[in-house]
Structure formats: C-alpha cells, structure tokens
Symmetry: C2
Subunit: 265 residues, 2 copies
Amino acid sequence: MKCSQKMAQAQAARNSRLCVGIDPDINRMPAGLENTPADFERFVREIIAATADQACAFKFNLAFFERLGGAGLDILQRCAADVPRDIPTIADAKRGDIGNTAEAYAEAYLGAMDFDSITINAYMGRDAVMPFIKRPGKLAFVLAHTSNPGAADFQYWTQDGQKLYNEVVRRCREWSDEAEGECGFVVGATRAAVISEVRESAPGAPLLIPGVGTQGGDPAAVVAANGTEGICLVNVSRAIMYASSAGDYSTAAAAAARSFRESLN
Amino acid sequence: MKCSQKMAQAQAARNSRLCVGIDPDINRMPAGLENTPADFERFVREIIAATADQACAFKFNLAFFERLGGAGLDILQRCAADVPRDIPTIADAKRGDIGNTAEAYAEAYLGAMDFDSITINAYMGRDAVMPFIKRPGKLAFVLAHTSNPGAADFQYWTQDGQKLYNEVVRRCREWSDEAEGECGFVVGATRAAVISEVRESAPGAPLLIPGVGTQGGDPAAVVAANGTEGICLVNVSRAIMYASSAGDYSTAAAAAARSFRESLN
C-alpha cells in the first residue's frame, strides 16, 4: 500500500486531520513524573494511548529523544512501535546529506525503525532527497515553507519571480515522479496563502502542516487553504502534550486532541 | 577558549589540515571484524587511535551511528570521548529546526555529548541557526556549498546576482557576530573557485571542506583556494577508513592519513 493511501484511510477511519506531535521535553515533565528516561517513556506512551482515537498520524520530534542519547533512541523505537498499526508515523528528523549518508538515514528511520514517513531538508539537492522518496510504501515530507520566524530568511530567495520554496516543491515533485516514489511537503500553518500556493503546484501531495496551537496558526484557515483535494495532516504538539502540567495530563491531552480534531473538521 | 582557537592549536601541534571523517558502514566491515555493534565500535576506535597523530580534527557522520539505533548513539558517545582532548571533534549532523527543537539538538550534541562543533543546515533561517552558534567554546559549521552532485540544484538559486550559498554565508556571519558566537562553513572540495569566494566573504571563519579522497577533490587546489588566512579543515572519510578491507585496515588507515596530511601541506 502506498503511504499516502495509509494516510487517507487513517483520516477517513477517524474522521481526523489531526497529527499529534510528540515533543517531550525531559526538563518539563508533568506532575507525578520524574525527569528520568523511564518516566519520559511513560509520558510519551500515555499521550499516545490517550490521543490515538483522535489522531490520523503521530509525528515524533527526534531532537527530544536524541537529547537522551542512546537510551532516547531506544525509547523512540519502542514508542513508535506502540502506535496502532493503522495510524501512520512520521520521524520528524529534517535530515539531508549526500547520497550514501542519506541512504543510511533512510535505512535508520524508514528501515530499521520502520517509520512510515520522515521529514527531510532538500538544501543539498537531488541525491540528498532520492534515498528517502524511492522506498516503496514510504513517504518523505520535504521542508518547503516552515512555520518559524526564520522561514523568510532563505526560503523566499527569488530567482526569475520564483521563490526558493516553490522551486523546492517543483523539483522534488519531478524527482518523486522519476523515482515512482512519494513525497509530501512541510508547509507552516502561519501563512494560509502559502498553503494554497503549494497545494496548487502539488495537487496530490500530502501536506504536513505544523504551527497550529502554541505557534498560533488558525485551524479553519489552514483547512480552507488546503481545499478538498489533497491530504493535509495538521500537526499540534505542545498544546496537546502539555495541555496540563498537573497529574491529569493524559485526560487533558485527550480533551485537547478532541477539540483540535473537531476544529479541523 | 574559543573553538576556532582549539582548532588552530591542533593544526599547529600536528602540522595538519587533515580532518579524519568517521563514516563506518556496518555492512562493510574489514576482514577479521563481524558486522556487530561491538566490532563496529572496535573498528572506529582503532581508526581513531591509528590516525590521531595525523589529524587536526575528527568528524563523526551521525547517520552511520543512528542506523544502529540506541546502541549506535551510545557507541558514538564513547568513540567521541576517545578522541584525544586537544583534537576538536565535529558532529556531522546537518541538523536544522525551529528554535526550541534546535536548542534540543544543540543540547544533545554540544551539551550532553560535548562535541566541539556540529554541522547545521540553515534553510529554516535565524532561529534554526542561533542555538548552535551562541554556545561559548563551541562552533557550528553551516552548510554553504556542498560537495555532492545535487549541490547546484538549490544552492545556486540567484537573487540580484547573489547565489543562495553566498547569502547563507552573509547572514550567518551577521548572526554569529550578533550572538558573539562562532560559525564556520561547509564548502565542498570539488569546486576550488567556490572555496576562494567563501573565504573572501568570511575571512576569519573556519572552513570544513569535504570531498577530497573518494569524491575526487584535489588537496593542493583546495589549500591554495583557502589561502593562508583562515583555518581550513579538509575532510577525508572513506579513503582513510577503508584504505584496506583486509586485516591491515588500521595500519593502512594510518598510512593513508599520513599521505593525505602531507599532500595538504
């Protein structure tokens, strides 16, 4: 099955566009949990269990696991395996490197750890992208226009009226067709006009849209900008994981996830 | 001590511009070693011990460690700690993400694992770069112009006569000054004219130059293009680690490292 098909099925089954982002900060544990690897893992697993009914995808932010060293990557692997099999997983890795190194990253996350998809950075060009998009049943979300304040610094660099992020979308579409693989794009929620623009130039590509919640993107505007044609996975991380810092964090996360899911329909 | 000062001292002490790249492929172990984590670690440690006399830096390619999961990150940490304390280490991570995530990556590799420096990708702009360059005693090598075939795909995107990689250098210099931190740049060995260009726009910045060896860059041309002013660390990975696939891999690596060091002087 194509990865985009798995995504479409998960969206239909749960009537959800909500991607739950797993960004667990070991220095910010809710009440009742210590800042130990064991409690960190427990926190993540409880959030997954509490929100799986509402989620069409889970995105794991690798930085917060890597900060724990080897133990962190082991926890990542166990937590990703904990996600119900019909819900697609995303390794939010933002990797990008020369061909043989990109192959090793693809093997690490799409192979050994068996994530369904991964976020990647296309700055290094074709050979940095190909190893991630050519794997059957897998998908790479390429960074196009991000949600952070620095997005405009380089992504708007303009040649012949074409902004860099548009060129990234155009070229990665070509490579994806060439590889008979699948790519999607990361487009921040904070500028709805850019979502429409990317959607227009990549009609069938899944869009991963972060920036709703703590970062301030508006759910209704995001969904309207995406239109009714392609898949959009709207990611919310901290506003769900940290919906409560008290002992009721998992019920609060479930309630927040339900509320975000509804606001995206 | 500033990181660039540590680099300059290591270069002077060993009369070397050679950065030994640690790209260990678990599917390509030399004779006498199995493709197990234990032998993988032994291989890396033997290469470090065999080449430390010739090296002014060690660069660890994280992909090849991450492919082993949690065990791989533990091995990475132990191997990096094995490098003699006066030789600077580089986490070749090519990370780049929004502010709080970039902080977590910086904490992982410059904090917990205590690498001296890290390679980063600036596509996401200022807040993706700052957490890595503001740490006292540490340095971030920002990808400018890379050595791979895909380098031209996006890095040459040109606005008002200025290529993207030039703009990356210009802006990161500003941010580094603003943070009173240190940044250097990754510039591939395969185009000497680009090295001269980056050196001119960033006179004092250390340059990390991959692409000599297996990728075909010419040592003498690279050093001439850098000139006599700033630090350049010329990286060779596979042509040293895999100088021999027989049981003499560590003596062959030592000989290859010596030969590359000499060709860079």
